[in-house]
């Protein structure tokens, strides 16, 4: 396979077509969100304007989009932080090893592959039964479901498996000799963690934190039955695709995707910069 034969060009062609397939529809959305004021939901575009973004800014329909925007932003930030703060110690525990480690690992994997609707239903049920139980003691108790209880838990069942798997992979490639050297020089476990281990796995940690945010930011299936009354942005968006018939809904799509891309770009850039700084220092 050393020369670029016909096979290379056929496969390159398939790859290019796939990338067009992957990004083409997205570009349609971005283009149409700049539709002129008279334009509709389909091509051709009638002029070019930011009219639908200003419509979006004023609010679309009856739902408060910007409140949902804020909720998604806050939830994403909390999910991202918790994913880091929970998966890092867990990954450290896996380096030591413990009884039941395999069982926990398979549970985490199962959490990734059990259909979202089943997880969502289960969490919804759990909180409903909990509410029924609380109501027997506290008069006027409404519900415990919400952004930072049931929805947060639902999101963590999705982000934590990714966090743990990424860290286990990082520790798999980790050269333990650095750590042993630190210990031989008299470093305490905390010093070893802070000064040796964390700097080495920093790119993975940044990846987990920021991808945790985008996973939560875009999560829909697990949240749908587990959130209670107030919706996150993807849920509102799904509702709007059925009711709103102006390009404002595309403008919202563009904004949501924009936030995801900024976060992904930021994390990839940071990881690349760390890598470069390291190779320059010859680490």
């Amino acid at each position: 396979m050393n020369e670029r034969g016909r096979r290379y060009y056929v496969l390159a062609g398939i790859f290019t077509l796939f990338v067009l397939f992957l990004y083409g529809p997205m570009f349609a959305i971005f283009a149409l969100s700049f539709q002129g004021p008279e334009g509709g939901l389909t091509f051709p575009m009638r002029g070019f304007s930011t009219h639908w973004f200003s419509e979006l800014w004023k609010g679309v329909g009856v739902v408060d989009i910007w409140a949902a925007f804020g909720r998604s932003l806050r939830l994403g930030a909390v999910v991202s932080a918790l994913t880091l703060v929970i998966s890092l110690p867990a990954a450290l525990a896996y380096r030591i090893g413990f009884r039941g480690a395999t069982l926990l690992f398979y549970t985490v994997i199962a959490s990734l592959i059990v259909p979202s609707i089943v997880v969502s239903l289960g969490i919804g049920l759990e909180f409903r039964l909990f509410d029924d139980w609380v109501k027997e003691f506290i008069v006027g108790h409404q519900t415990s479901t919400g952004l930072f209880s049931s929805a947060l838990g639902a999101h963590l069942t999705w982000t934590l498996p990714f966090g743990l798997l990424i860290l286990l992979a990082a520790f798999n490639r980790f050269d333990r000799r650095y750590e042993e050297a630190a210990r031989d020089l008299g470093a305490s476990p905390w010093q070893t963690l802070w000064l040796v281990i964390l700097p080495i796995i920093l790119p993975s940690l940044i990846g987990i934190g920021l991808f945790g945010f985008t996973l939560s930011w875009d999560e829909l299936a697990r949240t749908s039955q587990a959130i209670g009354g107030r919706n996150t942005l993807p849920l509102e968006l799904r509702g709007l695709t059925q009711t709103v018939t102006t390009p404002a809904v595309y403008a919202l799509g563009t904004v949501v995707t924009g936030v995801s891309l900024v976060v992904i770009g930021f994390s990839l850039a940071t990881i690349t910069l760390i890598g470069r700084a390291r190779s320059r220092r010859g680490r």
Binding site: I86, A93, S111, G122
Partner: protein, 331 residues
């Protein structure tokens, strides 16, 4: 041992810890103590259970607990207003109502599963072939590592952006007045707008492939990267053609990646109700949709029974698949 006592919140402790470690750095006593054989205080970092407990807690509270509750509630009774603890099998009887009696005609549940399985199989077959081909290009045809990484990222970035938007994006293309119809008509290929493009089986399958091909591709790339190139050279020297190499050498060596990718795609398609809903115009039945509708009407016990059946079906498929591949390997 305050650090160990704070174990359940392992995270916050991990954040305050290093500060203390820093003060230890300037204290000359710590080294001296070690030299004199005084046993070092056992750190939280040496306690795996404390470290893993936050993860364990979240998994118990939001995954294992809810699953067990779902199984329990599937045997409960319900009225229009409430759910009542009981042990009845009526929910399961309702799920499979007249399924055996009506055979060979399909009952609602069997028809729904058949429709879902049909999507599952088509999407699985297409994503497998496509994922394998794309992975082959990145791993074996592209020479420079930096290009490989760049191409890989191009494929994975859309995965991190909203599924709803990626579905929604097909509407201006496939709709009655969509771009595809406009192009087809202006080229004179069709004389009137094609209705089957959107809100159809075709649209659902297209969206699934658009959304989930990379779930298949990434594990296969991962497996392919580990294949020793010399094996391929050896196969070639032995006279194997490219198809023989692909199907008899590379594919079996990619087996773990293929199995992982297939499990992802199958479980997603089996439980999906959002893609089927949006792209099928709310007209196509799916198991997930059934559960969602029953929850809307607060019929939790029967929704739970449906969820248990779905989970059982998914597990059976996964089990059968891993067996199937194992058997083939042994032959």
């Amino acid at each position: 041992m305050t650090t160990a006592e704070q174990a359940p919140e392992g995270g916050p402790t991990a954040l305050t810890g290093p500060g203390r470690a820093h003060t230890a750095l300037v204290s000359p006593d710590s080294d001296a103590a070690a030299v004199h054989g005084v046993k070092r205080r056992r750190s939280l970092l040496d306690r795996p259970y404390a470290l893993a407990s936050p993860l364990l807690l979240v998994m118990a509270l939001f995954f294992v607990g809810p699953l067990i509750l779902t199984i329990i509630v599937s045997f409960w009774e319900y009225t229009q207003y409430s759910i009542e603890p009981a042990f009845v099998t009526t929910n399961y009887q309702d799920v499979f109502y007249q399924c055996v009696a009506k055979l060979p005609n399909l009952c609602v549940t069997f028809a729904t599963y058949l429709s879902t399985l049909k999507f599952c199989f088509i999407v699985w077959a297409i994503t497998l072939v496509l994922g394998f081909t794309l992975a082959w290009f990145i791993v074996f045809e592209v020479k420079k590592t930096s290009t490989q990484i760049a191409l890989f990222l191009i494929c994975t970035i859309p995965f991190w952006t909203s599924n709803v938007i990626r579905m929604m994006a097909w509407i201006p293309l496939l709709g009655r007045n969509g771009l595809v119809n406009q192009v087809l008509m202006s080229m004179g290929i069709v004389s009137e707008p094609q209705e089957w493009l959107l809100y159809s089986d075709f649209a659902v399958i297209l969206a699934f492939i658009h959304l989930y091909t990379m779930f298949m591709m990434v594990p296969i790339v991962n497996s392919m990267m580990r294949i020793d190139r010399e094996i391929i050279e050896a196969a070639r020297d032995a006279g194997a053609g490219i198809w023989t190499i692909a199907l008899s050498v590379i594919a079996p060596l990619c087996r773990p990646g293929i199995v992982i990718g297939s499990i992802f795609v199958i479980t997603i398609v089996m439980g999906d109700y959002i893609t089927v809903g949006v792209m099928g115009g709310q007209q196509i039945a799916s198991v997930g949709k059934t559960i969602q509708v029953q929850m809307q009407y607060l019929q939790f016990p029967i929704a739970a029974a449906n969820a248990v059946v779905l989970l059982g079906a998914v597990l059976m498929i996964i089990f059968a698949m891993t067996r199937l591949v194992d058997v083939r390997r042994e032959l």
